[in-house]
C-alpha cells in the first residue's frame, strides 16, 4: 500500500543515502582559510553534484529541470541540513533571484538563453542598492538612457554580493527621471563582461570581501536585456525580492534548526554546561523558537504555492529568522567563551551558523540589515499585515 506519507519517507531515505555517499567528510576544515579560486572550484563541483542528483534546482518548473513536489523539497532541505551539506553560495542568486525574475517576467528568449546556462554554472549578482538608496530603494539614481537598440547605463551599485565572480547582474536603473520614483525604474540583465564596469570589493564587519561596489560608466545594455516593460522594473523587482523569502528562508531555517542547534548543544556540552539549568533553559527556549521558525517557513512556502500567502507573511519570516539567528549566535558566543574569539576564520561554503560563533554573531547583521532592515520589516508588518495607518508624509 502506498500513501503520500510513505512515499515521502521513501524519498527521505533516498536523500539520506545520497547525503551519506556525497557530502564530503571534513569539508568545513578543508574550506577554512582557502584562496578564492579554491572556494569557487569547490562550489562549482558541489553544484554539479547536486545537479546530477536532481537536487540543484528542485523548485524550478519541470520543463527547465526542476518540478519536485513541494513536500519533497521540504524533506530535501531538511535532510541536506541534517547531514550538514555545504551551501550553494555562489549559485544562490542565479538559482533563486535570477530564475524567479526570468520565470515571472522574462521573455522566452531570455529564459532559453539563461536558465540552461545557470544549470551549467552561470553565476549572478544583484545590483539593486546604492549609496543613497538603501532602505529607500526606489530612490536609486543609476540611470539607463535609451540609445537606439541599447541603453547606456551610468551609476554606482553597492552591497552586490558575489560581484567579483558573477557573470551577469540583475540591474535596477532609472529610465524616466521625471516620473514618480517607483514608476521610472526599469529592470535589466547586464553582462558583467561589458566594457565600463569596475568591481571593487568592500570588506564587511566579519572581514570578508564578498560584498562589492559596482561602478558603471557608459555601460551599454542591449534593449533585449530589458525585463518587463520600460519603467515597469519596480514590479519585477518585487518578484525577485519575493524569491528571497519562501524556499530560501526554509533552507536557512532548516540549517539553523538542524546542525546549528546541534553545535550549540555540543558547545554547551564541551563547556560542561548541560547541568547548568540557566544554560539549558535558554537552550530549550531557542529550540522551541527554532521549531516554530521551521514550521512558519513550511507554512509560508505552502501558502505561497497555494496563492494564499498574506501580505506580511514573508516579512514576518525574514524578521523572525534574522533576529533568532542573531540571538542564537550571540548565545553561542557567550557559551563558547574566550575560545569563540580565537576562531579567526569561518569555513567558506557554510551558512550563517558555521559554528565559528563570534564570526557568525557578527555575520548575523547581514540578515538584520540587507533585504529590508528589521525596522523596515516591522513597518511593513504593521501596515500591510495589521492595517495600521501609514506615517503622514
Amino acid at each position: 500500500m502506498t500513501s503520500p506519507a510513505r512515499d515521502l519517507e521513501e524519498f527521505r531515505a533516498s536523500v539520506r543515502a545520497w547525503c551519506r555517499a556525497h557530502v564530503p567528510v571534513g569539508w568545513r576544515a578543508a574550506q577554512t582559510g582557502i584562496p578564492d579560486a579554491e572556494y569557487v572550484a569547490f562550489q562549482q563541483w558541489w553544484f554539479a553534484e547536486l545537479r546530477a542528483a536532481g537536487y540543484a534546482v528542485p523548485h524550478w518548473p519541470a520543463e527547465w529541470g526542476g518540478g519536485m513536489p513541494l513536500a519533497r523539497q521540504v524533506v530535501l532541505y531538511s535532510e541536506l541540513a541534517a547531514h550538514d551539506a555545504p551551501r550553494l553560495v555562489l549559485a544562490f542568486v542565479a538559482i533563486h533571484h535570477a530564475a524567479a525574475t526570468l520565470l515571472a517576467a522574462g521573455t522566452d528568449e531570455q529564459r532559453r538563453r539563461h536558465l540552461p546556462a545557470i544549470l551549467d554554472g552561470e553565476t549572478w549578482v544583484q545590483g539593486f542598492s546604492e549609496p543613497e538608496a538603501g532602505s529607500d530603494l526606489a530612490a536609486l539614481r543609476t540611470t539607463a538612457r535609451r540609445d537606439g537598440d541599447r541603453y547606456i547605463v551610468n551609476g554606482q551599485k553597492l552591497w552586490a554580493s558575489g560581484a567579483l565572480q558573477a557573470d551577469w547582474c540583475l540591474l535596477l536603473a532609472r529610465t524616466d527621471p521625471d516620473a514618480p520614483k517607483r514608476r521610472g525604474i526599469s529592470y535589466f540583465l547586464l553582462d558583467m563582461r561589458s566594457p565600463g564596469i569596475d568591481v571593487r570589493p568592500i570588506k564587511n564587519a566579519v572581514g570578508e570581501s564578498h560584498f562589492c561596489e559596482i561602478f558603471l560608466s557608459d555601460v551599454a545594455v542591449p534593449a533585449a536585456g530589458l525585463v518587463g516593460p520600460e519603467n515597469g522594473g519596480w514590479r519585477v523587482a518585487q518578484e525577485t525580492l519575493g524569491a528571497e523569502r519562501g524556499l530560501t528562508m526554509l533552507e536557512l531555517a532548516e540549517r539553523l534548526g538542524n546542525a546549528g542547534f546541534r553545535w550549540l548543544v555540543a558547545a554547551c556540552s564541551r563547556q560542561g554546561l548541560l547541568d547548568d539549568s540557566l544554560v539549558t533553559d535558554r537552550l530549550a527556549a531557542l529550540e522551541t523558537e527554532l521549531t516554530a521558525l521551521r514550521g512558519l517557513c513550511r507554512g509560508l512556502v505552502e501558502r505561497h504555492e497555494a496563492g494564499r500567502a498574506g501580505p506580511a507573511d514573508a516579512s514576518i519570516v525574514k524578521l523572525y529568522y534574522s533576529e533568532l539567528l542573531q540571538r542564537m549566535t550571540d548565545f553561542g558566543t557567550e557559551i563558547a567563551g574566550l575560545s569563540a574569539h580565537a576562531v579567526l576564520r569561518k569555513p567558506a561554503s557554510s551558512g550563517w551558523e558555521s559554528g565559528a560563533w563570534m564570526l557568525d554573531f557578527i555575520g548575523s547583521w547581514e540578515w538584520t540589515i540587507p533585504g529590508g532592515t528589521s525596522e523596515i520589516q516591522r513597518t511593513i508588518i504593521a501596515e500591510r499585515g495589521l492595517g495600521l495607518p501609514r506615517e503622514p508624509a
Partner: protein, 385 residues
C-alpha cells in the same frame, strides 16, 4: 436550534476536517461574542452546542470528535476570557474518562457530561502548577484498612473542583501503587473542598482534600493503557489546552490593540501611525504567529492525524516535546502580549472598565497552570544529555 458539530467519520478528508473546524470556530466565536467580556456562556448552551461532548463517542450521544476540536473551543473561550468549567470538565474530565477501561458507570458519566447533566472535574496534580515541576507526582493514595478502602491526600488550585458533580481523583492503587482514578462524590464524608479565590475572576480553583474518605471498590477505575504513559498524556493535554486558551486571549488582545491604535488620535493623528506603536504591534503579531505555530503542532500531535496527511505517527516523547514547547511559549507570550496591550491602550487600558486586566490576569494564571514555562523547558532540556 441544535448547533451541535457534525459527526466525523473515518473517511473524512483533510479538507472536510478543516472546514468542520472552521465552522465550529465561527459558531463558537459568534456565540461567545454576543456578551460583554468576560463571556459567561451558560452550561445548557455549551451542552446544546455540543462542546461538552466533543470527545464523547457518538454511541454515548457525543460528537465523536478529537482533541483538535476541543482545542478550537479552548482557544475561543480564551479569546472571550470566558467563565465556566470547560477546562475542568470537558477537557480534563472527559479526557480522563476516555482513558479509563470501559465500564457502564464511566459510559453513563460520559453520556451525562455530554448532555450537561453531570460536571466531572479531574484532580491530576498536587498543585495546579504541579508544584513548579511538571507532573509533580500523584496527589492521592488509597489504603486498605480493617474497615475497607480509604483515600487520603490533597491537591490545591484544582480547576473547577468546587463546581463539579463528580471528582475524578488521581490516586495510587493499594496493590501495585499504579496510578488509578477514583470516582468521587464531592459531598462524600471525608472529602473537603474549599474554593480558592484568585485575582483572575474568570477561573474557579479549589483545594481538594481527602481525610480517610471511605471508597467503594467499584469507584476505583483502572486506565485502559499503560498508567504512567496515560497520566503523562493527560497532563500534556491539560498543558496544551491552557496554551490554546492563552493563544486565544493573545489574539484578542492583538485585535483590540490594533483596532484602538487605528482610531485613537493624539497629536492630531492616529496613534497607530507612530512608528513606536506600529513596531510594538508588529512584535505582538510575531509572538502570536509563533505561538499559533507551536500550539497547532502540539494539538496535531495530541489529536493524532485521522486523515493520515502527516508523516509518521509521533512517539509519546515527541508528543510531550510538542506540548512543552507550546505551553512554555504560548503562555509566556500571552503575558507579554496582554501587557503590551495594556501599555498601548494608554490610560484607558489601566482602568477596570476597559477589561484588559482580565486578559492579563488570566494570561499570568495560565502561565502557572500545569507547568510553568521553566518546568516545561526543563523537561525539554532532559533530551540534551
Amino acid at each position: 436550534m441544535n448547533a451541535a458539530p457534525r459527526q466525523l467519520g473515518d473517511e473524512t478528508s483533510p479538507e472536510d476536517l478543516a472546514e468542520a473546524r472552521a465552522e465550529l470556530r465561527a459558531i463558537a466565536r459568534g456565540l461567545l461574542g454576543k456578551t460583554r467580556v468576560p463571556a459567561a456562556p451558560g452550561w445548557g448552551l455549551m451542552a446544546s452546542s455540543g462542546w461538552l461532548g466533543l470527545e464523547v463517542p457518538p454511541a454515548l450521544d457525543g460528537a465523536g470528535a478529537t482533541f483538535a476540536e476541543v482545542a478550537v473551543i479552548a482557544e475561543e473561550l480564551g479569546r472571550a476570557v470566558a467563565r465556566g468549567s470547560y477546562l475542568g470538565s470537558a477537557v480534563l474530565g472527559v479526557g480522563t474518562l476516555r482513558e479509563l477501561a470501559r465500564h457502564p458507570a464511566t459510559d453513563d458519566l460520559l453520556r451525562r457530561t455530554a448532555a450537561g447533566d453531570a460536571v466531572p472535574a479531574a484532580v491530576l496534580v498536587p498543585g495546579g502548577s504541579a508544584g513548579g515541576r511538571h507532573g509533580g507526582g500523584v496527589p492521592f493514595w488509597l489504603a486498605r484498612t480493617a474497615d475497607g478502602l480509604r483515600l487520603n491526600g490533597q491537591a490545591v488550585f484544582v480547576p473547577d473542583a468546587a463546581e463539579a458533580t463528580t471528582l475524578l481523583v488521581l490516586a495510587r492503587a493499594v496493590d501495585d501503587g499504579a496510578p488509578v482514578i477514583v470516582e468521587l462524590d464531592p459531598q462524600a464524608a471525608g472529602i473537603v473542598i474549599e474554593p480558592q479565590p484568585v485575582l483572575d475572576e474568570t477561573r474557579r480553583l479549589a483545594m481538594v482534600r481527602a481525610e480517610g474518605a471511605e471508597i467503594a471498590t467499584e469507584s476505583v477505575r483502572r486506565f485502559a493503557g499503560d498508567p504512567r504513559a496515560t497520566v503523562r498524556r493527560l497532563l500534556d493535554r491539560a498543558a496544551v489546552a491552557v496554551a490554546c486558551d492563552s493563544l486565544g486571549l493573545s489574539e484578542a488582545m492583538l485585535d483590540a490593540t490594533v483596532g484602538y491604535a487605528r482610531v485613537r488620535e493624539q497629536f492630531g493623528r492616529p496613534v497607530g501611525s507612530f512608528q513606536a506603536v506600529k513596531h510594538a504591534c508588529a512584535d505582538m503579531l510575531i509572538r502570536v504567529r509563533v505561538a499559533r505555530e507551536l500550539v497547532a503542532a502540539a494539538v496535531t500531535a495530541l489529536a493524532g492525524d485521522p486523515a493520515g496527511i502527516g508523516t509518521v505517527d509521533l512517539s509519546p516523547a515527541d508528543v510531550s516535546t510538542a506540548a512543552s514547547m507550546a505551553k512554555a511559549y504560548a503562555c509566556e507570550a500571552a503575558v507579554e502580549v496582554a501587557g503590551k496591550a495594556m501599555q498601548l491602550h494608554g490610560g484607558i487600558g489601566y482602568t477596570w472598565e476597559s477589561g484588559i486586566h482580565l486578559y492579563l490576569k488570566r494570561a499570568a494564571l495560565n502561565r502557572s497552570l500545569f507547568g510553568a514555562p521553566a518546568a516545561h523547558r526543563r523537561r525539554l532540556a532532559e533530551r540534551y544529555k
